[in-house]
Symmetry: C2
Subunit: 353 residues, 2 copies
């Protein structure tokens, strides 16, 4: 029936070089030159240096190109110029939904400006990340690092080579895109305070995470402002599972509201607390961060501080493209706003009954 492998080896050992697989080789500027009756270099200019050739020859060449269905050979172009119209995006974990919107945002902006996005994953490891970055550097015009794990110095070293933009972290001397947590956090804390909470717990993310530190700072500041108590708890890992594991500490802390480093933690935490019989939000309020895909699948749906991830991605791409084309180097930090997305997992505390 359906054999998994049908090794019909005997086919033709296709040498297949310039003719991809069929018989017709791709048209080159030399072909166009022949058809249009001009020199190849003129064709090259007509196609890449607007205004360098007369309108008449321009048209002649364009017609010939269209007729031959010409498309540039990117390698031939890249060889002498070094430009590839490509840039790289490195994320820590492709399956982490936090990055989905970043990827999409970057992809969209790239495509819009005729660039191609090349994606790589670092598997949450600083060395893999650096390796991937190095490898990419050879083939791209610029690089976006989303929540990078490597050293500031490594990043700066890369940035000396080609334009680099960092998302979700600030590195001196390198253009960055970071969500400004303050607005979202203060909205969240004010909402909790208004609902009668006096003590909130913050479940932190990885210790090396720049963003986790910012969020904890933000929570402390907002709590101080609202005159409520803030305690910090550590998580083992920033995942659903990590959230489950931290549930004990959360209950022990005596806090009636929890903010977690990210939505994944919040979801795991909520599952575990509910499994233990607690009612959310009547007995405890839970607020996540990021508003990832699936944050509204839970019952109750998760209240969260949204980072405009898509905006981060497209912002970083735009920054990079400006760097590549612009004359000077602005290289500032782009801050994007966060906001509270109020759903069902936070609310008024019911008197114990």
């Amino acid at each position: 029936m359906t054999e998994p492998k049908t090794p019909e080896v005997a086919a033709t050992t296709a040498p297949a070089k310039k003719h991809a697989r069929d018989g017709k080789p791709n048209a080159t500027i030399y072909d166009i030159a022949k058809v249009a009756g001009v020199n190849p270099s003129t064709v090259s200019r007509a196609l890449s240096k607007p205004g360098r050739v007369s309108a008449k020859t321009q048209k002649l060449i364009e017609d010939a190109a269209a007729e031959l269905n010409y498309q540039v050979n990117p390698f031939a172009r890249a060889l002498p110029t070094g430009r590839t119209n490509t840039f790289g995006l490195i994320v820590a974990d492709i399956t982490n939904p936090t990055f989905f919107d970043i990827i999409r945002g970057a992809e969209t902006t790239a495509t819009l400006r005729d660039y191609t996005l090349v994606l790589a994953e670092s598997a949450e490891s600083a060395v893999t990340e650096l390796t991937a970055a190095r490898r990419m550097m050879a083939t791209v015009d610029g690089l976006i690092l989303a929540s990078p794990r490597m050293d500031d110095d490594d990043i700066r070293t890369l940035a000396r080579d080609k334009p680099v933009v960092v998302i979700n972290r600030e590195v001196d001397g390198v253009p960055c895109v970071v969500p400004d947590v303050n607005k979202g956090i203060s909205e969240a804390v004010r909402s909790l305070a208004a609902n009668g909470h006096h003590k909130v717990a913050f479940v932190a993310g990885p210790l090396q995470s720049w963003m986790s530190a910012r969020r904890w700072e933000g929570v402390q500041a907002a709590c101080e402002w609202s005159r409520i108590e803030a305690v910090r708890l550590e998580s083992t890992k920033p995942t659903v599972d990590g959230g489950r594991q931290v549930a004990r500490d959360v209950r022990a802390s005596g806090a009636t509201a929890v903010l977690t480093y990210n939505d994944l933690l919040a979801i795991g935490l909520m599952q575990e607390l509910q499994a233990a019989g607690m009612v959310v939000p009547d007995q405890i309020s839970i607020v996540g961060f990021d508003d990832i895909f699936g944050a509204d699948f839970t019952t109750p749906p998760l209240t969260t501080v949204r980072s405009p991830l898509g905006e981060c991605g497209s912002g970083a791409a735009a920054l990079l493209l400006d760097l590549l084309h612009g004359t000077g180097e602005p290289a500032g930090t782009l801050r994007v706003e966060t906001e509270l997305v109020l759903r069902g997992s936070s609310g008024r505390l019911l008197p114990a009954g």
Copy 2:
């Protein structure tokens, strides 16, 4: 005039061509040749044709290469050979979690075999997809199409040019990777039948979706086998929102169990039914397809027929790599198993009370 080659570049207005941004140009095989005292072509052979040069010169060259920190220029290599060690993956929607695992699986396998994955999105449009595919064809060695929207003929045309592998669809003459729905579906339907359900509804996906058709066929067959009734309902779009919209039809159908084309639909449907006061699974059982990220965030967690998406991605990548390196062309269809993941959203029907 000065010497033809002056390594110490006057550090003025950086023309920045081969020297990325700093002063040191990348080492080339010519540099290695000079250091090792051999001809550039010998260097080229030593580095790419194992066994073509003597062990002695091999070592000499490798040492020189290491000393100069040489890395090949991919463009220079691609130009004469056409090989890029790169392949493309086109997905309909980067933010659709169905593709996450596919992407990751393909990425992992690619990296493992020293290939780079280039990702593109078709935004669910057949024309965008074809455009993206065409564009990619110029720069990659092969292409993976995940749940493609374009015509069979377009796919075959692409496949004539370079190796193409299709995921989640069968196209004659093109190697494919498809989950075999039967096992998973029959498990699901048997489970429903065993729980006392006599009538199940199938909420279909897009009409052009090859996979939706297969799933409906599978459901019909399994229901016939279990002697229970199956009805088909249409959805407007295969998303959470589409699931909400189809809730009315589901209730009107009188079915006590529902299988939906994908998890997104199932989640939306469940949300809507619960909002209307129905209890899942006591009053109605819901089963999705795919086991996407977030399928277990819901309350109750979603029962679903899992497709090994990661396996599909890595399988497709492996197939493609075999095609690229293998001598002949197996070009068969790779079938992967599906299985039922029993969670809380399906179960015994409670007598109406």
